[in-house]
């Protein structure tokens, strides 16, 4: 299970994965390349060749942000923006270790400046911006840098009436930035508003897991919302809900398939068709007369 317990009646914006250890970043199996559904084990290159989808059973493994962009963008077209931005530590936050230390460790481990990678790209020849989150950077949590990079991607695209393709994978707001993390919700919502009011488009892809503050902000505001099969895409996590309500949850609680049935997701798209689906949407959203 993904979610930490909190006392009933109190809300967890689901900050960080219980098993945030990157060696277990899918949170489901014992080894990152062992399929939690069918138990098959793969070499890393094997999974890379199948877009990290289990050839046996179709389980969708997590995808890191750079690999996600490589899967979606036309070769050589990705041009990262705002790479120089880093989180500050306005609260001088300290739990088991200082936040600044956590940030430094995460950057060393993931080779990313924060939990999102943004930049220009082309998909099947259509120019756009991609904003891909990375769950292995502090559970994909959203702090000032995630908010800022996402907002800048929207702003630059708004100037061109363009399209932002966002791929979310996040445990929610980043607790270590306190109330400023919560403020990334209205900040990204404002950016989407500016983009959409300028005639631009947000294509929102929900990967496993998309929860908490990201679900309660930009990820839910896509002109079109796609989700990957089996992705947990909820606001509150299953464990919090189970503890608060003391009810048995449906087996597919919060999963993409459930959210599709309940009307929150336009399509559940298998990874092998994600690129072509986005290309189709890019053609359509470029085609107003």
């Amino acid at each position: 299970m993904l979610w930490m317990s909190t006392p009933p009646g109190h809300i967890d914006v689901s900050i960080e994965h219980k098993r945030a250890d990157p060696a277990r970043s899918d949170g489901r199996g014992d080894h990152p390349n062992t399929c939690p559904t069918c138990g098959s084990h793969y070499r890393d290159e094997e999974l890379a060749d199948t877009l990290r989808v289990c050839p046996q059973c179709g389980h969708h493994f997590p995808v890191r942000a750079p690999e996600r962009i490589a899967q979606l963008a036309d070769p050589g077209t990705f041009d990262e923006e705002d790479a120089e931005l880093r989180s500050a530590d306005p609260l001088e936050f300290f739990d088991l270790k200082p936040y600044v230390e956590r940030l430094a460790e995460a950057e060393l481990r993931t080779d990313l400046g924060d939990a999102i990678l943004t930049g220009r790209a082309a998909i099947d020849g259509h120019a756009c911006r991609i904003a891909a989150m990375d769950f292995s950077f502090m559970g994909g949590s959203m702090g000032s840098v995630v908010g800022e990079r996402f907002a800048r991607a929207c702003e630059r695209s708004a100037d061109e009436g363009g399209v932002v393709v966002s791929v979310a994978a996040s445990g929610g707001a980043r607790m270590q930035e306190g109330i400023l993390a919560l403020m990334q919700l209205p900040k990204t919502v404002a950016a989407v508003g500016d983009l959409q009011d300028a005639g631009g488009t947000l294509l929102s892809v929900l990967a496993h897991p998309t929860t908490g503050g990201v679900t309660a902000s930009f990820a839910s505001l896509g002109d079109v919302i796609l989700a990957e099969p089996g992705a947990l895409t909820s606001f509150a996590g299953p464990r919090v809900v189970a503890q608060t309500t003391r009810e048995k949850l449906p087996d597919d609680f919060g999963l993409a398939e459930s959210n599709y049935r309940f009307g929150h997701v336009d399509a559940v798209v298998v990874r092998s068709e994600l690129r072509s689906t986005l290309a189709r949407l890019l053609r359509l959203f470029g085609g107003a007369r």
Partner: protein, 312 residues
């Protein structure tokens, strides 16, 4: 406090002093308030002080939204229902007359006794509550009514149906709605400003906190459970993420602090309401002259700028 925040407050003080004569008593009250706030900020808020505020914010006798509604508004008319599935009693919405002007008020509502707590779901709204808020805001926008929101929730309800009915999307769309309004908006955290469930109705031109309110990305208990695997370390968590009004002002997340009577709002609800009234009227007067586009633009710009960044 940081030099920047102090400089910012000093700037605002200087500005206010300069225009004081033009605006009369209200602004001089505002001025005094900011001076008091600055005073308080100078003595860095202690851990004990923060926790005392957490307890006051949750005090079972603390005035709730409807306690203020009955003290502040004439001609109150409550609007009910999301026009889709239910009337969520955890959020109250309605129209009333504040100092002679019609305003829409939207606020979380906790219950005072066991029965009302159940009806109000402890102030934890479902998506339908946010949809009621959205339609009320759109109504107010169409008629040019300013909007006052009163924030007081442990958070959005974490329930099965809440997720099935789109809790995350409803919170996102409520914020998007607020960022599109052409009428003046003032949000006041009057108790617990708990996470997404709070910010959903707090994306306003002016965001204020009462002196003993808290505004948090996660409950102290939730934070402690995650970081130290021990919910009892809530106090430690609270001092780590500093949910009190002074720190929120320092981080420029809020625009001002509404004073409370000695001992907290529950000690004298009438006095608390009077102080709230004064503050609301001052801010609404301040915003009244701005055109819809200007309100929208500057509201978006304010939230767009939130956060603290470093560069490599």
């Amino acid at each position: 406090m940081s030099n920047d925040a102090e400089l910012g407050l000093r700037d605002r003080l200087a500005q206010l002093s300069g225009v004081k004569l033009l605006r009369g008593t209200r602004l001089s009250t505002e001025l005094q308030r900011l001076e008091r706030q600055l005073e308080r900020l100078r003595d860095d808020t202690s851990d004990e002080e923060i926790w005392r505020r957490v307890e006051l914010a949750r005090h079972e006798k603390r005035p709730y939204t409807l306690d203020y509604v009955e003290r502040l508004l004439d001609d109150w008319f409550e609007l009910h229902g999301d026009r889709g599935r239910m009337d969520d009693r955890a959020i109250v919405a309605g129209l009333g007359s504040l100092d002679g002007r019609t305003v829409a008020v939207i606020g979380h509502q906790k219950g005072r006794d066991l029965k009302e707590r159940a009806i109000r779901n402890f102030g934890m709204a479902n998506p339908e509550g946010y949809r009621k808020a959205i339609r009320t805001m759109q109504l107010a926008d169409r008629h040019g009514f300013p909007i006052v929101t009163l924030v007081d929730t442990p958070g959005a309800h974490p329930g099965i149906a809440a997720e099935q009915h789109g809790q995350g999307g409803a919170i996102a769309r409520s914020q998007a709605c607020m960022l599109r309004l052409g009428v003046p908006t003032v949000a006041v955290v009057i108790g617990e400003g708990g996470s997404g469930g709070a910010v959903a109705i707090a994306v306003a031109d002016r965001v204020l906190m009462q002196e003993n309110a808290i505004y948090t990305v996660i409950s102290p208990e939730g934070c402690a459970a995650i970081l130290w695997r021990d919910a009892a370390k809530a106090k430690k968590a609270a001092s780590a993420f500093k949910p009190d009004a002074a720190h929120c002002l320092e981080l420029r997340v809020i625009d001002g602090i509404v004073p409370e009577p000695a001992g907290g709002a529950h000690a004298d609800p009438d006095a608390a309401a009077a102080l709230l009234r004064e503050s609301l009227i001052a801010h609404l007067d301040d915003l009244a002259s701005l055109a819809p586009d200007e309100l929208r633009r500057s509201r978006r710009a304010k939230f767009r700028s939130m956060g603290v960044l470093a560069h490599v």
